[in-house]
């Protein structure tokens, strides 16, 4: 029995013990949903009804036939790659002084020091060498070029007839310099210059007087053994091949030059950079600190010229020191007028200055011919916000076909009454242009019918002026076509889906008449449209959303935990009319499940110019509330009915097919979180 009790307890504990229950609370979540935009191209054609008698709107439909973007100015990548090696380095000019005393020349004179006696002529050879410390010059250097000036100052009381002086490297006795000095009077000096080309000079030197001949004194003279021959060694213009030395501050590269660039035709004066990069790379094996200053007077941002200073620390022996830098050139204005902007006809010319200097640290560092400093800089991937200058003369011929969307999917049931047609040229290039429409033909792909446009106004070239200097602005030229000057009616009533074209576009047909005041923006082009204007009216919902849309709320994950929701519609409306909005939920049989409150219920109209072109979109934030008591309806809904009532203002208004209704939606929902 006891065992049964134990068994019961065991089973009970493992099977019916408490499991943790779910904790629940309400959480408020806000997420973005979707965004979309709607144009007339999204309108169901069934809702476009031509009814001139009661129409409130004129539909203006611009169909792009051809877009010419031949004047794309891009700045070619500009790069500079330079290097310098030891040949450009120099060592400081320096002097050291060494005295060879009378006592060193002839020790026996020590006994006569201070006495006044007559000195006989002397002839001595291979005097004891004297140590000379040249560490002030360098540790060691092998020289490509340079000079050693040896000055001998005769402090002896007699004339020196001959002095042969030899300078040796103390380490190996190799001769650095040797020369003879003749007839140096008492108290006078003589100087000889010796080339050090291909010589190796160490800091430890020995000065040796190989031969010294002096004349006898004129009578008794004072013997002063501390006086003698003063040797001054001066090194100058040293260009080492390799050296261990403390290099002085010096500029090793100085470049100030103008680069002429090939722009592929245009003659550019100014180039405002939309995007692009300046890439700098410096590599050095030189063991001394360096500074590189790059100035580009041709590039300025807000009036401040581009200047970069790169500090390179001395490389460790056997290693290469590297520095890289990338500069975002967006917003910079490049001046291609060269070094002197006053020279009027300079174009495509880029001014840059580079100075590389050695910053002496006072350390003795080793530099050889194998050491180098390499500098690479490049302006790359430059795209213009705009460019000014003379864009050159270009002639583009283009043959092709363009879609004509207005009649996409239409059959032969639509008749347009009272419509106007024109060929519209929109030029956003800052240069004159000439358009020659050689041929336009409409094709209805369903019937196979083609109609070639015959229009007397298009027999002549269409001249168009430059665009105003404002991004997005165009100069337009419209050639009106009607029944008296063309067969446009037959052309349009063919209900084409395709337009075949053969068009020439020429820029600057008269040459540089603007005197280098042409310009292009990044999106400048010459566009040719076929424009149709027709009075239209709309039935309910025709301009907005379809009237009834299926939804599958039940398919949304965890939808049963949504307790209430607000859908926020942020609407930007180009259209010149208000739209009243209303939503209601429908079940699978189309029966109403309830209305969804929309607050406010009206989308405001956009602002237009007096001629009806879009000027500023209106912004309306709509909130569609689905309260708690309606969420059950939402879960059951299979469709939503959208009622959109267009509110006109009683006057004729133009509607361009470039108008947009931009909608961004987000969701705020109260849902039940669980853990």
């Amino acid at each position: 029995m006891r065992n049964l009790v134990l068994l019961y307890a065991f089973v009970a504990l493992t099977t019916v013990a408490c499991s943790r229950k779910t904790a629940r609370w309400d959480n408020n979540v806000a997420v973005p949903l979707f965004s979309t935009e709607m144009t007339l191209n999204d309108v169901d054609r069934r809702f476009l009804v031509n009814n001139a008698s009661d129409s409130g709107y004129t539909l203006i439909y611009d169909n792009l036939v051809y877009n010419a973007r031949s004047l794309r100015v891009t700045a070619p990548d500009t790069s500079l790659n330079t290097a310098f090696t030891l040949r450009r380095l120099k060592l400081s000019d320096r002097s050291i002084v060494q005295r060879i005393t009378l006592a060193q020349i002839n020790p026996t004179f020590r006994l006569l020091d201070g006495q006044t006696i007559g000195v006989p002529a002397q002839n001595q050879t291979n005097l004891s060498p004297v140590d000379i410390d040249a560490s002030a010059f360098f540790e060691t250097a092998t020289l490509d070029s340079g000079f050693l000036d040896i000055s001998i100052n005769n402090e002896l009381p007699v004339k020196v007839s001959l002095l042969v002086f030899e300078l040796q490297n103390a380490s190996d006795g190799s001769v650095v310099a040797k020369d003879s000095f003749l007839n140096i009077n008492q108290g006078s000096s003589a100087t000889k210059s010796i080339s050090l080309r291909n010589k190796t000079v160490n800091k430890g030197l020995k000065g040796v007087i190989r031969h010294l001949i002096t004349e006898a004194s004129n009578g008794p003279v004072l013997i002063n053994v501390s006086k003698g021959v003063e040797v001054t060694l001066t090194v100058r213009n040293l260009r080492p091949r390799n050296a261990i030395a403390a290099f002085p501050n010096q500029n090793v590269i100085e470049q100030d030059e103008a680069l002429v660039l090939d722009m592929g035709g245009p003659q550019v004066k100014f180039f405002k950079v939309k995007q692009g990069w300046l890439r700098l790379k410096v590599e050095s094996t030189i063991q001394e600190n360096m500074t590189m200053v790059l100035k580009i007077p041709s590039a300025s941002l807000n009036g401040v010229p581009l200047e970069r200073v790169v500090k390179m620390p001395g490389a460790k022996p056997g290693n290469t020191e590297r520095k890289e830098e990338t500069v975002d050139m967006s917003g910079y204005l490049l001046d291609y007028r060269g070094r002197d902007p006053n020279v009027k006809d300079t174009v495509n010319t880029f001014h840059q200055i580079m100075i590389v200097s050695l910053d002496s640290s006072g350390r003795k560092v080793q530099v050889t011919l194998n050491d180098s400093l390499r500098i690479y800089y490049a302006l790359t991937d430059l795209l213009p916000e705009y460019a000014t200058g003379y864009m050159g003369q270009t002639l583009n011929n283009s043959v092709g076909k363009a879609p004509f969307v207005l009649f996409k999917g239409a059959d032969g049931n639509i008749v347009f009454k009272d419509f106007k047609a024109s060929v519209l040229v929109k030029n956003s290039i800052g240069a004159e242009g000439r358009v020659r429409v050689k041929s336009l033909e409409s094709e209805n792909v369903f019937s196979g019918n083609k109609v070639k446009l015959s229009a007397s106004p298009l027999n002549n070239d269409v001249l168009i002026g430059p665009a105003p200097f404002m991004y997005g602005e165009t100069t337009d030229k419209q050639v009106v076509l009607d029944g008296s000057n063309s067969n446009i009616k037959a052309f349009v009533e063919n209900l084409p889906q395709l337009i075949h074209y053969d068009i020439d576009i020429e820029t600057n047909p008269n040459g540089n008449v603007s005197n280098w005041k042409d310009f292009v923006f990044d999106n400048s082009s010459a566009d040719i449209y076929l424009r149709l204007e027709a009075p239209v009216s709309f039935t309910v919902g025709g301009l907005n959303l379809r009237d009834t849309q299926g939804i599958e709320a039940a398919s949304v994950p965890q939808v049963q935990r949504v307790k209430s929701a607000t859908i926020i519609f942020d609407v930007e409306n180009d259209y010149p009319f208000e739209v009243d909005m209303a939503f209601s939920l429908l079940d699978q049989y189309g029966n109403a499940l309830g209305d969804v409150t929309v607050n406010p219920g009206t989308i405001m109209a956009g602002k237009t110019t007096p001629s009806g072109e879009p000027m500023a979109a209106s912004r309306t934030v709509l909130r569609a509330n689905i309260p708690r008591e309606r969420t059950e309806s939402l879960r059951k809904a299979h469709a939503v009915a959208i009622k959109a009532r267009v509110v006109g203002n009683g006057t004729q208004q133009k509607i361009y097919n470039t108008y947009k209704l931009r909608v961004k939606t987000s969701l705020q929902a109260e849902y039940e979180a669980q853990f």
Binding site: M1, L4, T14, A17, R20, D26, N28, S666, A669
Partner: protein, 423 residues
Amino acid sequence: MKHSFKFLLGLLLAAQTLQAQKNNNTKVPEIAAKNDTSVNLPSRDTVYTIQSKMIAVSISSESGSAGMPLSITGRFLLGGYIPSERISQTEARLKSQVSGGIASTMQLNVSDKFFIRRHQMGGIRFNDDAFRLVFQGNGAYLGQTLDARIKKATQWDVLELGFGFEKSKNLLQGKGKVTYKGSINPGWLRSYSAVNNFRTQVYTDTLAQHVDVLWGGNVQRAQGGFGLTINSGITYDFSSGPWKMVFVGLENAGLYYTHELKTYGRLPGMADSTVRLQSASTSLNRIFRGDWLGDRIDTIKRQIGLDSSRKSNTLLAPFAVYLAANHEKWGFVRLSYRNLPGYLPRLDYQPKIKLGIGALRFYPSVSLGGFDTWNINLLSYWTWKPIQRGGLQVNMRLEGLESLVMPSRLNGFGALVTLRVRL
């Protein structure tokens, strides 16, 4: 919970029935001596406190929070709905750092040689914005940035068997006795989850048109696994001197192995950069077909760099350590610690105060630390001697009684109910 109480009643009846069938008139000693405070060790009946020939069933729960009221933390144990008003009240009083946790155990002991028990416990440390984001949502903070951080959180659900052993030895010169008790506990890991250094910074535009998210850290989950832990404790009982008893113990120390630990975090190598979630640009047709949503969710996952991996892993079990002592005059003191986030070292003090009515005894105590900051507790037990041998004792320990006089202090609650039967 209801099932467990029914189970306890059933066991009580079974035990009574069992005893009624015995016709042995041997007087059985009381289950607990007058001053027996061993029921305090460690915090519920284990092999340390169960004597041979005894069955005990206990249910215990310890919960608390520094920052959140019991009406919220308790729901995570008992389940149920947390009203929005309560969440708002808590949010208004939040400190910058919040912690909390729950530890509950159901256990059946058969003498000191065998037990079976189930642990469900968890702890968490997080900041005030994490509370706001989880309990209120980013929709309540449009145009603001929430910088939510969960420093550490773990949750365990394990089922264990325990096989006990004991060894005792008398101290020299009759000074007392030392008893070593322990058990080896193979166990089954029912579920485990952990959050490690999770941080998310969320900015929601005033119209919710974009949500900027910066996040890091990871979340781990495992279901299924096995492990082995040990309980080990030494009790010194002194026959002379003011200190009567000293206990040092370790509980649930060991490892659990799971063959599939899922980790959700950022893609490897992805820098902690801000991701902007915006409206999905789509066509009208897709909007009304409704099939943009699936792509959108996939896109969002890619954008925020959510990645997951699975691998086997070994986990350190949520152990507890105890140090307790009983003084002749001062009473009982215990220092304990659980290896759970949000759990501070806890000090319990039970003075030598005994209240009672008949067979009912009460022992008040205070505690500092644990999941909560401080609590006033009450241990009670009732002994019933049935007709025949054996006895029946019901212990109940309640924690958090200070909330009876200070309702705003209802941050934590603990309860221990034990039913003991001597066979």
